[in-house]
Symmetry: C2
Subunit: 465 residues, 2 copies
């Protein structure tokens, strides 16, 4: 006991000495962090860019808006003086079309009641006169399996809400979103003629929250998939309790189109010593065709771009190249993420580390880092020793965890890092008409840009070894 | 060196053993915290109460709204089954009146331009035909002192903004608010005929953000005090650069009225073992006469009241009495705060600890605690050992710091504690028409109520000794 206590003490003491020495080395980064935060919050540059971007409209794949937005980004990057690269990427193309309606069409009590509905991305449309059928409400796939004898010829209504008591709203979303991604496929398996779901959201309003579904498979009928606003799902659920045999008519004229070419937009602030090593800051440039795509992920893109501008503005010349990637088509297939990872493999790019902002641009909380197990403790400890510097931008912690969908495909990085703002409000807005510029708070967004800039700069200068 | 190292190691080791033992004792509070958070976030009870309260309208001192709101609170507390006490308190009474206008009245270029203006609480009105005068713009009292020869007969315009680069928005507010609290007194000292200020806000819109000024003194003329919207202050500032001799006419018909009687509203969940020891949870029930007073401080009040209801709902019977105090007149003199402290002194009440929520009801960050120096390390260490439990409600830290204005007058408590939500958005709304129910996010507010409930319960059960 005495020996192990002494050993423990010695180790503790050495660790403390080591922390103390590192702390001295890090002192110079406190005033730098202060200046980054001050410039970010004072000038609100990224926020002003986001306003311009949102005024173009939502940036769904295949849309003219997206083309205009890419043109806007090119000009912005040129005007800021960063090296611009456009990486061509073939992307899925799906179009909502001109109408999407749901109405209770046959019912003694509810006939004529309209429900707010939107097609789920990737869905086929309905015949021109719609699909009219009885509705089978289930909470999950297992319940549908248990009630498969009731499913044939019906519209399957997956009505399980996002669990409001799950405090990690991303986890809550993850636990409910299978209804959206796989509902139409599972419905078809049991003879359903369409799939409708309750919006996967924390907000109890009438706005449908859309998103992507998995591609259809050839072995099953392609049945349409759509989503109701939360309150409309409640209405339908209550109506079905009173009158289980009511019929619903849904009409959707969305369609799946051939793939189109788009681009990953890449801007570089070239490093002074290790210009071939990239510290990536990123978001995804496409959005759904609802709202402005302000939080998802226009804001994250503008934060990433402002990282370069903040360092340039403050004449901080990073050793490594800070590379901003505005990925294309995260929403419907992650095409841009796969394409950049593939390019990196073929060109043997050194993507030293990558940061993504794709959880909204709310007030900063922390960063989560995906690090391979061999380097985990070294890299994580190193980053955690920076928390007091990052706290200048209200970062409270750095933990092991996921990164971002787009960067998650990159191989051989020291760390893939997700920026984690507060998550209370994100799924109020996500993939819906609620996701507009007015919901972005400039101070919160700018603190996030500053946090990413400080972290990218520290990774560039101090390194992760 | 070796000896001190060994001593250090021994102490470290003992501390670690101690923390470990405490950690075991605390295990049972994790599931309790989970259930408090789940019930709070799932039911949104306080948020629903806040909606009812905000529908009554703003709760400014002396208003019929406030009387109606007090009646509402009494009925709510009765219906919840808590012991209700109304403590009579005499409070200041000031009334905005029917009009408040500002117009550039004599100018070659800007004549007729109206500016958004509101009287500052406690100001006298103007004569019926207003005050028309040239404007002297200064940034602070020192500049006015240096330019005192220019001040006589003019409207003094204090235009210093809240420093947007100061990251603690409450500190930034504190550094700018002297213009509001003392501007009219200082202006009068140098012969100014009125004082107008730039809104002390983080939002750059046209909405005036009001608040209280210090009482006039008999030795100086009583000149009116008013506040311009941020953008209007910019407009005036720019206009003055072009045309320094322009004249402004301001009209205010506010008035100072005799004190009136109101009440601190007190609700008790009686303790099972130490019912004479109070763990206070609180907010202030009055608001300014702008918006709904949703964040300041209707939300804080509903969080405090829900602490009692959460514990009751979950059948958690606290040893100490959990006392909810909805203080009256924080905004214009802290009358309720002084009155409860005075009552406590005369009745020798044991206010074991007190928590106040009066920084908005945004997403939780931490708690700050005001503890007398003799007990500081013991009490703070004890509370800090609970952070991992409080983190269930997204609390990241507990630090030494201020508490809340109302509870700050209480003597002999073990700890006076301020609930600290995120501060990025608070001064966008504070004391203005922006502070409405729609700006409250239910999840953020309910996490705060849960955080306060967990802390109050831990203080009651574990104690702070």
């Amino acid at each position: 006991m005495k020996l192990s206590a002494r050993l423990f003490c010695t180790v503790t003491f050495l660790i403390l000495i080591n922390i103390n020495l590192s702390a001295q080395d890090l002192q110079k980064y406190f005033p730098i962090a202060d200046s980054i935060v001050a410039s970010s919050v004072l000038n609100r540059t990224g926020y002003k860019w986001l306003k311009e971007l949102c005024e173009i409209g939502p940036r769904n794949i295949g849309s003219q808006n997206l083309e205009r937005a890419i043109e806007w980004a090119k000009q912005k990057i040129d005007s800021l003086g960063f090296k611009l690269t456009l990486q061509p990427v073939m992307v899925d193309h799906w179009k909502r079309g001109n109408f999407e309606t749901a109405v209770i069409s046959q019912s003694t009590k509810f006939s004529g009641k309209k429900l707010n509905i939107s097609a789920i991305g990737g869905s086929v449309g309905t015949p021109e006169n719609g699909i009219t059928a009885e509705v089978l409400e289930v909470k999950n796939f297992e319940e549908l399996r248990n009630r498969k004898n009731e499913a044939n010829g019906k519209i399957i209504f997956f009505s399980r809400p996002l669990d409001p008591a799950e405090l990690n709203t991303f986890a809550a979303y993850g636990n409910a979103v299978d209804q959206r991604t796989r509902g139409a496929l599972v419905a078809a398996e049991y003879g359903g003629v369409a799939s409708i779901i309750r919006s996967v959201t924390t907000k109890y309003d009438t706005v449908p929250h859309v998103g992507a579904m998995r591609n259809y498979v050839d072995s099953l009928p392609k049945v349409p998939a759509a989503v109701l606003g939360y309150a409309d799902a409640d209405f339908l659920s209550n109506a079905l309790k009173e009158e289980p045999s009511l019929k619903l008519t849904i009409k959707l004229d969305c369609e799946i189109l051939p793939d189109v070419q788009s681009y990953n937009i890449i801007a570089d602030l070239t490093g002074t010593e290790k210009s071939d090593e990239y510290v990536i800051v990123s978001g995804h440039f496409d959005s759904w065709d609802k709202g402005d795509g302000a939080h998802d992920d226009g804001g994250g893109c503008m934060q990433a771009l402002e990282v370069l501008d903040l360092l340039k503005r403050l004449d901080l010349k990073p050793k490594r190249t800070i590379r901003c990637i505005l990925y294309i088509n995260e929403e419907h297939g992650l095409d841009g993420g796969y394409a950049y990872a593939s390019l990196s493999d073929s060109l043997k790019l050194i993507n030293y580390a990558a940061i993504e902002s794709d959880r909204g641009v709310f007030t900063p909380r922390g960063f989560t880092a995906d690090i391979d197990s061999a380097n985990l403790s070294v890299v994580l400890n190193k980053m955690q020793s920076w928390v007091s510097i990052l706290n200048k931008a209200k970062i409270e912690w750095i933990k092991k965890g996921g990164s971002g969908a787009d960067i998650s495909r990159i191989k051989n990085s020291k760390a893939l890092i997700g920026y984690v703002p507060d998550d209370a409000r994100y799924f109020d807005l996500h993939h819906s008409d609620n996701d507009v510029f007015e919901e972005v708070n400039p101070r919160e967004m700018q603190l996030g840009a500053a946090a990413m800039a400080i972290l990218a700069y520290l990774i560039s200068e101090v390194g992760l070894e």
